[in-house]
């Protein structure tokens, strides 16, 4: 590589080094927040959701959709302020997804392929417009494409569980080697439950969320930082603010024009036709250009004049069409034309459903996955299309994979937008999320007359929502008691379904209650 690249500009080198250090530090901080957002021995919940509070797109969309102002969301003004001074420096210096894309550039796959047409750059603005229009109409589904929630969801639902499984497999293998079993056991005690859960968590759609993340990275094969250039709605928001930014990249009058910076620019915004000027809405202030500039003609200077609207930026017509289309799309999902009838298994985290209406999941959940990360049993899973298109990425409780722990209220505590209300433990324990129903055709005592009491044993309620009684219909085995559910007591925590020893689908299952959930 070095033989091909000319001598590097020392001033640029220092700046690029500083940027890389900042990027890696910020990625490390994001991962640290992710790691410390586990429940046992992690950081306090109001701290671990800080990254999402710094995200102006998520906070603005939540404000529009919920019409509630959360004091913590004012932190996003820091990022807005940063953009008004340094444009998209967030994207080049801070964004953990941007850094991930830099770390996996796929430049060998890309080869000499030309990037897509410049017009694609407007997609991010249109996605931003659609996100905010939908938010105004009470729908936050598109926040699933916010870079922070996307990264967090990918980590929670795919990368971390996958890594857990790989590490466990390696540990199991090495544990069998006699002289290694001691150190491996020590290592295991060191990482569990500190880094990975003590009991493995199973994510239903890990493959889907893993592939989505791989696709975002895979787009690098078509253009460097494809996601940031063309798609990222947060990038779009910061790009718009960047047009007003105080500091902008400028090129000296005496630049002889060597095209090195144009080739180095990761967002491809340095235009040789315009005297190597760049668009502040696209420039991430990464300063790769300065590093390659043989004459150090590139400066970042204060310029109070707003940047020009570019030909590839969306026009009034595209903007209005997007507003109209997204409004219609929200109306369509609202009309229920695209969804099935609401399935009876649509269990939400405690307090997320109001008066039997599944509203908060759509209007307040920013799809950040913090609740799923905090859930100690792996009960909370990112939804796909169970609640229609608009439920994508919002948390669902899947009792067969994990139960709602009677001693835990973590999901409501970590939720940055109170889509899951921050209930204290006593209140959460009484909050009904579903109701258990026994399938007498599969339940061991009911169907076969065999002894089994696991569900009754597991029921965490002081008065036991599951009672064992002799059958009164004259059937069954004499002396064998069968379980009954007292649905006036049952809260739907699902530990009975989780622990039911019947293979496959449990013989006791949690559904939405027949009567509206009291709120």
């Amino acid at each position: 590589m070095n033989s091909k690249t000319p001598r590097k500009n020392p001033r640029g080198r220092a700046w690029v080094l500083a940027r890389r250090i900042t990027q890696y530090a910020m990625l490390a901080v994001f991962c640290l927040f992710f790691l410390m957002s586990r429940r046992d021995g992690g950081w306090p919940p109001e701290l671990v959701n800080l990254p999402f509070r710094l995200d102006p797109l998520a906070m603005l969309a939540h404000l529009l959709s919920s019409r509630t102002f959360l004091a913590g969301s004012a932190l996003a003004l820091i990022t807005v302020g940063l953009a008004l001074v340094f444009g998209r420096a967030w994207c080049g210096w801070i964004c953990p997804l941007g850094t991930t894309l830099d770390l996996i550039p796929l430049d060998r796959l890309r080869g000499d392929r030309r990037p897509p047409a410049e017009g694609w750059r407007q997609v991010k603005y249109l996605l931003l417009t659609a996100t905010l229009t939908a938010a105004l109409l009470g729908n936050l589904t598109l926040l699933a494409f916010d870079p922070l929630t996307l990264l967090s969801r990918s980590l929670t639902a795919a990368i971390w569980p996958g890594l857990d499984r790989i590490v466990m497999a390696a540990e199991k293998l090495l544990f069998r080697v006699p002289f290694l079993s001691g150190p491996v056991a020590d290592f295991d005690a060191f990482i569990r439950p500190a880094l990975f859960p003590a009991q493995p968590v199973f994510v239903r759609d890990a493959l889907l969320f893993g592939l989505l993340f791989a696709a975002v990275i895979g787009l690098n094969a078509f253009a460097e930082r494809f996601w940031c250039r063309y798609l990222c709605p947060l990038g779009g928001l910061l790009g718009l603010l960047g047009k007003l930014a105080v500091f902008k990249r400028t090129v000296g009058e005496d630049c002889p024009g060597c095209v090195l910076c144009t080739n180095a620019c990761p967002t491809g915004t340095i235009d040789p036709q315009k005297r190597y000027a760049s668009d502040p809405s696209e420039c991430t202030l990464c300063l790769d250009c300065l590093e390659t500039c043989p004459r150090s003609r590139i400066e970042v200077n204060p310029q109070l004049k707003p940047a020009a609207w570019q030909p590839y930026d969306p026009g009034r017509r595209a903007f209005l069409a997007t507003v109209g289309l997204s409004a219609s799309a929200v109306a369509l999902t609202r009309a229920g034309l695209l969804e099935r009838r609401e399935p009876a298994t649509l269990i939400r985290p405690p307090g997320m459903r109001e008066v039997n209406a599944d509203v908060l999941a759509v209007t307040q959940c920013i799809r950040c996955s913090a609740c799923m990360r905090a859930c100690p049993t792996g009960a909370l899973q990112p939804g796909v299309f169970e609640a229609g298109l608009e439920g994508f990425g919002a948390p669902l409780l899947i009792p067969r994979l994990g139960y709602c722990d009677f001693s835990c209220n973590a999901c409501g505590q970590v939720c940055p937008t109170q889509a899951i209300p921050p209930l204290d433990l006593e209140t959460k324990r009484l909050r009904v999320i579903g109701a258990a129903y026994i399938d007498p055709h599969r339940c061991l005592p009911w169907a076969d007359g065999n002894e089994c009491f696991v569900c009754e044993e597991m029921c965490p309620l002081p008065e036991k929502a599951i009672q064992l009684r002799e059958r009164t219909d004259g059937q069954g085995t004499a002396g064998i008691r069968v379980p009954f559910v007292d649905r006036d007591v049952c809260i739907g925590c699902g530990i009975c379904e989780y622990q039911c020893p019947v293979n496959g689908e449990a013989a006791i299952r949690v559904f939405l209650p027949q009567v509206p959930i009291p709120f």
Partner: protein
């Protein structure tokens, strides 16, 4: 992207196959074939069938009781008094021994006052006595079914007391469940049991006495279920006999039934103080069946009412006939 040559492809394929073979080889010839259960070790008191035909050792003038019941004192005093009656903890814990203390920490729901988890001061006092007797290490663990282990250790108050006593509170690792055969088992011929408990020099079993839906009471023998991975299948093959099989596998050197508070209804999880009775009682015996048999009487039941006690006695793991036991009753504090 770089193209693979045929040679490179074959090399990679060979390496992959080799890795898989190595994994298979290690598992096959490896270090942990099904471990046979340790031969029943001689507990402090040898088992003698109580058929009444021969004089029982209790009828001779042995100074060591079969079972000690202490009432009416602070938890730590109960433990110290009971162990003193056996001649001190050194009767069970040799110097340098690796000790495992197994309390009942089955859920993370409530504090010790609700009597669904073992009294933390009882556990702490046992850890302290082990160290005073010269134990090399004392580990404490359980496998809760409700909530995480870390959470349950905290809420039960047991972590605090164990660590104050210098013991080590460990979260049980999935790695350390090993397949073991149980010789002469009635129904549970093999299971995945926790290695540290199997390999401990001394296992001290510290259940809390409480009501339980299916087995009626959960006591010492039932408490051993926390040391195996697959408990659900035990329900299917019959809890009474499979619990007795577990007692034969682990053979705890000492069973300490915590009846400082007992849970009389809605166990094993509890959650209502109205179901809790404070008895300030501790039952200690090297004979797990005897300890459970006496504990059953605290609930107004006879040993014969509890299936696993009947099965354990039938299997020769201990004695359930309370009249034949040399029981020392101690009342503290007047």
């Amino acid at each position: 992207m770089k193209k693979l040559t045929r040679r490179e492809f074959l090399k990679l394929a060979a390496a992959g196959t080799g890795g898989l073979l190595l994994e298979q080889m290690l598992s096959a010839c490896g270090m942990q074939p099904p471990v046979s259960a340790p031969l029943p070790t001689q507990t402090a008191l040898p088992f003698v069938p109580s058929d009444g035909s021969q004089p029982l050792p209790t009828e001779t003038s042995t100074p060591v009781p079969d079972l000690v019941v202490v009432r009416g004192g602070e938890p730590e005093d109960l433990v110290r008094t009971a162990l003193a009656a056996f001649g001190g903890m050194q009767a069970f814990v040799p110097p340098g021994a690796k000790v495992v203390v197994k309390p009942n920490i089955c859920n993370a729901y409530n504090s010790y006052e609700y009597a669904s988890t073992t009294n933390p001061w009882v556990v702490g006092a046992l850890v302290r006595l082990c160290y005073e007797a010269g134990a090399g290490s004392v580990s404490v663990f359980d496998f809760p079914f409700g909530g995480t282990a870390a959470d349950a250790y905290q809420r039960s108050g047991i972590r605090e007391q164990v660590e104050a006593a210098g013991g080590s509170m460990q979260v049980m690792s999935n790695l350390k469940f090993v397949r073991v055969d149980i010789p002469n088992a009635m129904v549970l011929n093999n299971t995945n049991a926790y290695q540290d408990a199997l390999e401990a020099d001394v296992l001290i079993n510290v259940p809390v006495a409480k009501q339980h839906g299916s087995t009626r009471l959960t006591l010492g023998m039932k408490n051993l279920m926390g040391l195996v991975q697959d408990r659900n299948s035990m329900h299917a093959i019959g809890l009474g006999r499979s619990i007795a099989d577990l007692a034969g596998l682990f053979r705890p050197e000492l069973t300490v039934v915590d009846a400082v508070r007992i849970l009389t209804a809605n166990g094993p999880t509890g959650g209502d103080l109205a179901d809790v009775r404070k008895l300030d009682t501790l039952i200690v015996s090297p004979d797990i069946v005897a300890a459970d048999s006496y504990a059953a009487t605290l609930f107004g039941m006879a040993p014969q009412d509890i299936a696993y006690i009947v099965q354990g006695a039938a299997a020769g793991l201990g004695r359930s006939d309370l009249n034949s036991l040399n029981i020392e009753q101690i009342q503290l504090g007047g």
